[in-house]
């Protein structure tokens, strides 16, 4: 049976859900994206309050040279805490990790690039014993990855999905250019009646899907180490219900649970779990 990891939104949520879940993904401030709850490097002792849970730390931003010393410092400090692993996007993190003798694992977590089993096995051979599978692939592809990968695996099956990260301050630039005032912590962009959360923070700009992924049906078919549930922009009471359903779902109640989640939120879909992306839209008559 898969363990349940959540990406919590705040400390209160961790306290309220700690008995329901198997672990958490927590970010380090200014060193991660798409991770709702981030702690300061000086506040790592907070991790000691989360006992007997699988804790994963996210350092998943793109690292520039100036970040590298900080990454090293964080990786060393984390060795004093009981964590399972560190999620990385930037290969520089892995290179630093491999120069240190650390007692936790690395999680290859390149959001949209973790799309096949051989590349997962490649990173496994380079030191990343876990992989966080992309949410841009189908259930069938996830199952094949699970069959053929050597790594321990996690996949997100609930929540808004990240779809864009930039170093640019795209919202701030727009406001500044047109001399507009707005103090929102979060904005939205809208197109054809669909709204997408957009955040412009110290790291740059991040954009999320308009719909919440509801992968509870797939959770029955995907026999994976960890199922990840993301509470970003989801009310806590509803999120707790979602966690409980993912913990207790079985073939008898799956349809009921699925409908329940769909009715709890106005914007729910199955993401790419049942939709294959395409990339060739023009016919090319040339023969190879």
């Amino acid at each position: 049976m898969s363990k349940i990891l959540t990406i919590p939104s705040n400390l209160n949520e961790i306290e309220k859900t700690i008995d329901l879940v198997d672990g958490f993904i927590i970010g380090i401030k200014d060193m991660c994206v798409n991770t709702n709850f981030c702690i300061d490097i000086e506040d790592l002792n907070l991790l000691n309050k989360i006992k007997d849970k699988d804790i994963f730390i996210s350092l998943n931003k793109n690292m520039h040279n100036k970040d590298l010393e900080i990454v090293k410092e964080i990786l060393i400090k984390l060795n004093s805490y009981n964590i399972k692993g560190v999620l990385y996007y930037d290969v520089g993190v892995l290179n630093i990790y491999n120069k240190l003798d650390l007692n936790y694992d690395l999680v290859w977590s390149q959001e949209h690039l973790t799309t096949n089993y051989n590349t997962i096995n490649y990173w496994n051979s380079k030191g990343a014993k876990y992989a966080n599978i992309s949410s841009d692939i189908t259930e069938e592809e996830v199952i094949k990855i699970i069959e053929k990968s050597k790594s321990k695996l996690m996949v997100t099956l609930f929540g808004y999905l990240p779809m864009f990260v930039s170093k640019r301050h795209i919202v701030k630039n727009y406001l500044e250019y047109f001399k507009l005032n707005d103090e929102s912590n979060i904005n939205y962009i809208e197109k054809e009646d669909k709204t997408y959360p957009i955040i412009d923070n110290s790291i740059g700009t991040q954009v999320y899907s308009n719909n919440i992924l509801n992968g509870i049906k797939s959770s029955l078919n995907i026999n994976i180490d960890y199922i990840v549930l993301n509470s970003f922009k989801v009310e806590l009471d509803k999120f707790i219900i979602v966690i409980e359903m993912f913990k207790t779902v079985n073939k008898d109640n799956v349809e009921e649970y699925n409908e329940k989640i769909n009715s709890m939120f106005t914007n729910v879909d199955y993401g790419f779990l049942n939709t294959k992306t395409i990339y060739r839209v023009k016919k090319n008559d040339k023969k190879a």
Partner: protein, 400 residues
């Protein structure tokens, strides 16, 4: 002695490959029949790759093939055979982003491997990692500043390639899948539908519209490093890359010839080199968007953004291409690309000579009849001109 960097051009097909090399590129990068990020371009067949490689090698120049998609399970099966076929084509390197392609290429072929900008490599630790894996060149992420590039070059002994001209992604390469979500087209497998160029409504946290004079967009201006070429040469960057495998022959010829000239002038004259505004003007005229140095100077504020309601200029400057020149009769045969007429003053440029300014006093059709206007696409016409022209010289409107 200044080390001259490689000038690396995009080529969408054989015609553009030959034009790019003739106009001064030291190497070209192309897409093969599979696994490249321009899935909807025409791309090269294996026979065309072989022909392109043969042509390039005859000029002591190089051809790199992009194998830069992010692979899904289903693409793994065709990878090894495809890489071996590229090896048979004698390509000089492949440009790769998925690490499994790096591994397969290095273990199962003798292909040289360059790491694509799609891998968003922007720091020295990541560069060191890839060097240790056997990658021979890294195309840095476009978010790097001048200082970051220098620090990487100073600390890691590996060839570094950077973009100097062309369109920019709004996000970190590989981290934008807006195309997947909004159009179901897979950005990391060559299907990008360029959502970053769309207009959106921007809303505040209460979902009320925040309205500027123009719509909200992710669109960024293009990159142009013309002013910074001397700095970049001094930094020791190995290869200067121009974006645009889908661009026209005119764009390729113009951009390559300008950068060729600037690189050569700086390397030859060094302290005596001076920046020529005319080069900038020519580049600006052949682009359809404004351009800036983007992240190089560490400035990526609203001056890098492009708010114009998607109005992009369609370039009409390219008038024709020289198909033939008879040195005895002084008659040039020209294929039309845009409307021109007798009496127009035009410029003729090519890799073998300086820009020629010429007044089109008389224009003749293929049968030798004098005509006033050339309005039909690809219409063949003849002009008499004393200066010797060469095949593939280009005719454009007079710019200044």
């Amino acid at each position: 002695m200044i080390k001259k960097p490689e000038l690396l051009a995009p080529a969408g097909d054989l015609e553009r490959l030959k034009i790019a090399l003739k106009y001064g590129a030291d190497a070209v990068y192309i897409g093969g029949p599979l696994l490249n990020l321009r899935a909807n371009a025409i791309n090269f067949t294996f026979d065309e790759i072989k022909e392109g490689v043969k042509f390039a090698h005859s000029l002591n120049k190089k051809v790199y093939v992009t194998v830069n998609i992010v692979l899904h399970n289903e693409e793994l099966e065709e990878l090894e055979e495809y890489l071996k076929k590229l090896e048979e084509c004698k390509v000089d390197a492949i440009i790769v982003s998925d690490p499994i392609v790096v591994k397969e290429a290095l273990e199962k072929t003798n292909l040289e491997v360059h790491l694509s900008t799609q891998a968003s490599t922007i720091n020295k630790e990541a560069c060191e990692f890839w060097k240790n894996q056997g990658v021979s060149r890294i195309v840095l992420g476009r978010e790097c500043t001048k200082e970051e590039i220098k620090e990487i070059i100073d600390n890691v002994d590996i060839e570094i390639e950077t973009f100097i001209h062309g369109a920019m992604c709004a996000g970190y390469s590989g981290r934008c899948v807006m195309s997947n979500f909004l159009t179901n087209r897979d950005a990391n497998r060559g299907g990008c539908s360029q959502i970053c160029r769309w207009d959106f409504d921007l809303l505040n946290e209460d979902k009320e519209q925040i309205k500027g004079d123009m719509p909200f967009t992710f669109c960024s201006k293009d990159l142009s490093m013309l002013k910074y070429i001397p700095d970049m040469i001094d930094m020791g960057i190995t290869s200067f890359k121009i974006e645009g495998r889908m661009r026209s022959v005119y764009y390729i010829a113009t951009v390559i010839s300008i950068y060729r000239k600037v690189i050569d002038e700086y390397c030859d004259k060094n302290d005596k080199y001076t920046y020529n505004n005319l080069n900038e003007l020519i580049l600006r005229r052949c682009a359809n968007r404004d351009s800036v140095p983007q992240f190089f100077n560490g400035v990526y504020d609203s001056s890098c953004s492009y708010y114009n309601g998607r109005a992009e200029i369609s370039n009409q400057d390219f008038l024709g291409i020289v198909l033939d020149y008879d040195v005895h009769t002084k008659i040039a045969t020209i294929e039309q690309r845009n409307y021109f007429k007798s009496g127009d003053v035009v410029e003729i440029f090519g890799p073998e000579h300086n820009i020629i300014t010429y007044k089109l006093d008389k224009i003749f059709d293929e049968d030798g009849n004098e005509i006033d206007v050339v309005r039909h696409p690809k219409q063949i016409v003849k002009i008499k001109i004393e200066e010797t022209l060469n095949i593939d010289d280009m005719i454009r409107v007079k710019l200044v």
